[in-house]
């Protein structure tokens, strides 16, 4: 498996994990946070599916999601927010890594991965900011 595909699969795994995590934390939110959790859940589902489709287009079998994930325990609104931030940071790191690997590769797949990674890194950074309430200088790093 090439480094590019491996990094791409890792990004897919991060999205699968985030989707699972939002399902875990969502019930502990209410009001605007619940709306945000639903929106973010849908965004991760869309990105997960788009990433799997992109991998299939490259002749790669997308890895299946895990049956379960080890995530921080959610016991209330505060820990739900903390988990959301953690999930988004994890996604940002995975996409940032794919970006860095894609810069060392060439070809159509690398270019496509790079564009997808930039967009996904940015989207996760914004979602993390919305949950955290503040920015970080270097998302994904």
């Amino acid at each position: 498996m090439s480094a590019l595909v491996e990094a791409w699969q890792a990004a897919l795994a991060a999205e699968q994990r985030a989707y699972f995590g939002y399902g875990l934390l969502g019930p502990w939110t209410s009001g605007a946070r619940a709306d945000r959790a639903r929106t973010d859940l849908a965004a991760h589902a869309d990105l997960r599916d788009a990433t799997a489709t992109a991998l299939q287009a490259e002749g790669v079998r997308p890895q299946a999601p895990a049956a379960d994930y080890q995530l921080d325990r959610v016991t209330g609104a505060a820990s739900a927010v903390a988990l959301a931030v953690s999930l988004e940071d994890g996604c940002a790191q995975a996409w940032r890594y794919l970006y860095s690997v894609a810069t060392a590769a060439s070809g159509k797949a690398a270019r496509m991965a790079r564009r997808a990674a930039q967009q996904a890194l940015t989207d996760s950074a914004v979602r993390a900011t919305e949950w955290r309430g503040t920015t970080v200088p270097f998302p994904g790093i």
């Binding site: 399902g23 019930p27 639903r38 080890q70 914004v126 920015t135 270097f138």
Partner: protein, 187 residues
């Protein structure tokens, strides 16, 4: 509890480890690890896989890096010149300014690898033009103008990142995401 979310667990008990996560994985995959101290923000930046970015490059710096440093100086100068706004806006501006200072510091660390004298002219409070040494004077902006500037910078960083390679590209891509986040909090 809201029961409208799919896959809602019935308890918050810890779950077995079926996935190790990527944060550690990416961190250890690369060759060397460069630590850039983001002094203004008090943050350390870890950039892995700098195996294709030698410590010293006997060439002029990439134009994208030079442009990025100038961009950061401009953004910082405008934030410094913007003294109005509510307490909440002031807090956002202060935090955004700290992020930009961290960006500039990281960019200057990369630029310092190249032969041509380019920068290393910022301090915590004052931003100097790299070529002339003059203080960069900003313009007071509205929140909408600051937001537009952050969005514009994000687009420029993304374009520069796409044209760059290696560690420079990755850093610019991350900064692009940060600038988009700044625009979001300035909304």
């Amino acid at each position: 509890m809201d029961d409208t979310f799919p896959s809602s667990p019935t308890s918050g008990e810890p779950r077995h480890a079926a996935e190790t996560g990527v944060s550690r994985r990416w961190f250890v995959v690369g060759g060397g690890v460069l630590v850039l101290a983001g002094a203004a923000a008090g943050s350390a930046v870890r950039i892995a896989r700098d195996d294709y970015a030698p410590a010293h490059v006997p060439n002029p710096p990439p134009t994208a890096l030079v442009a990025a440093a100038a961009r950061e100086r401009g953004l910082i100068a405008d934030l410094d010149a913007t003294t109005g706004g509510s307490a909440a806006v002031r807090t956002v501006i202060a935090h955004t300014r700290a992020d930009h200072a961290a960006h500039l510091h990281a960019l200057e660390q990369l630029l310092a690898r190249y032969d041509a004298p380019t920068s290393t002219t910022s301090t915590g409070a004052t931003v100097l033009n790299a070529s002339t040494g003059a203080v960069v004077t900003g313009t007071a902006r509205t929140v909408a103008q600051l937001r537009a500037a952050e969005s514009r910078a994000a687009a420029e960083y993304a374009a520069d990142a796409e044209r760059s390679s290696g560690q420079t590209a990755t850093l610019l891509a991350s900064i692009s995401a940060a600038e988009t986040s700044h625009a979001a909090v300035l909304s």
